[in-house]
């Protein structure tokens, strides 16, 4: 699968919702072991919520080695790449820190109970 992010999202990749759109497209492919190519040509602005949703949460379902093998990112500008790397670093910590996840899960349960 090849995704043209500019055509799908536009020139600003900054929101959680937009990141989720990309995530929803690529996750089934990756789970099936099929490679995805993601092209950021024409995208200029990047912020962490987009990458958290698009890529960060992939680590919940798949190991990093598989993701490195299956995902190819093209034309991502240096600022975008640096934000993405920070997001992935943070996400690795998040999914490997049981104490932190316990707190998060507790809060999510409380939010669900109060909804």
């Amino acid at each position: 699968m090849r995704i043209n992010v500019h055509a799908l999202i536009g020139e600003d990749c900054i929101t959680l919702d937009d990141g989720q759109k990309v995530h929803n497209l690529i996750l089934p492919e990756l789970k099936a072991g099929r490679p995805v190519e993601i092209d950021f040509e024409g995208v200029g602005v990047f912020a962490s919520p987009f990458f958290n949703a698009a890529f960060g949460q992939l680590l919940r379902d798949l190991p990093g080695d598989d993701l490195n093998r299956l995902i190819k990112v093209d034309n991502l500008n240096p600022v975008g790449r640096s934000v993405l790397k920070r997001v992935i670093e943070n996400s690795k910590k998040y999914y490997s820190d049981p104490k932190y996840r316990r707190i998060v899960n507790r809060v999510l349960d409380e939010q669900a109970a109060n909804a």
């Binding site: 929101t15 912020a47 958290n52 960060g56 993701l67 910590k93």
Partner: protein, 294 residues
């Protein structure tokens, strides 16, 4: 039921901490339901971007609480009147007095998190007016980092009024400023609720919020990088970031950061940032493209 009338004098407002105290005192005086407030400018010698954004937000807060807010434009000094006409503030609160096409950065209200409206404000009205000589890459880098402020304000402020902002350009100093604020619950309140530690001071809560990975809205995924990325960008580029929420105050300036508790309380959150309008202050990262991502 009649509205209770209050006449408030808007003071001269720069953007140092005592100036924010003056704004927060005004907030304290209108923080009731069903008020009819008239703002008078006869004691005001100048207003900075923070004051414009704050006054606009105050007027909307009064309206939201069933009251009415008016501004006595006749009491404005001529130069302030010109600036407030140019930046659209007067047009927002007075029909038929729309913005002039001057050099002011517009006052703006965003009720909802609409990325296209906010990024076009930042790109075209704040950075892209010809007074800042920035490459497209740097412009985009700044917009991405400043977006994190809006993201934070909408996501965590949870104010039905949305977010208020105004910018200012200081040509002599080659500085560009932006103030973004909300009248929501404030960062300390969110942090105390999330951590279940009621005793956390406002300053400690702000410090917590700037630490990478800390977020009060995880939504089942790793988050909490926005303020850290912004802080890093401001540090590298020798800008300044100030944040006020409850009694907490945070400042990132000249590569140093400090968080402290002050005596004045404001329930929402105000972020005031300063960037240099000079490409030489900026060092965009250049990373090895072949590095493994995951």
């Amino acid at each position: 039921m009649g509205l209770e009338r209050r006449f408030l004098a808007v003071p001269t407002v720069n953007d140092d901490p005592p100036d924010f105290d003056r704004l927060f005192r005004l907030w304290n005086q209108v923080n009731d339901d069903y008020l009819e407030v008239e703002f008078n400018f006869s004691q005001c010698r100048f207003l900075r971007q923070n004051a414009v954004a704050f006054l606009g937000g105050l007027a909307r807060l009064i309206e939201y609480r069933g009251g009415r807010a008016t501004f006595d434009w006749n009491t404005l000094q001529e130069d302030i009147y010109t600036n407030l006409r140019q930046n659209g503030f007067i047009g927002c609160f007075s029909a038929g007095r729309g913005p002039w096409s001057g050099n002011s950065i517009p006052y703006q209200e965003f009720q909802e998190k609409r990325k296209d409206s906010i990024t076009s404000y930042l790109k075209a009205k704040w950075l892209g007016r010809g007074w800042v000589s920035l490459s497209p890459a740097l412009r985009d880098a700044i917009v991405g980092k400043v977006w994190e402020i809006y993201e934070n304000a909408f996501e965590h402020g949870s104010s039905p009024l949305g977010v208020f902002c105004c910018g200012q350009h200081y040509p002599q100093l080659h500085l560009l400023k932006l103030c973004v604020l909300d009248f929501g619950v404030g960062i300390p309140s969110n942090v105390r609720m999330f951590t279940k530690k009621e005793a956390v001071s406002a300053a400690a809560a702000l410090r917590w919020a700037f630490r990478p990975g800390n977020t009060t809205k995880p939504n089942g995924m790793g988050r909490g990088l926005g303020l850290d990325l912004l802080r890093e960008f401001v540090k590298v580029n020798q800008g300044e970031l100030e944040i006020y929420s409850h009694e907490g105050y945070g400042q990132i300036k000249e590569g140093r950061e400090r968080f402290l508790d002050r005596s004045t309380f404001f329930e929402g959150t105000v972020v005031n940032i300063t960037f240099h309008c000079d490409e030489s202050y900026y060092h965009l990262v250049s990373e090895e493209q072949t590095d493994k991502l995951f």
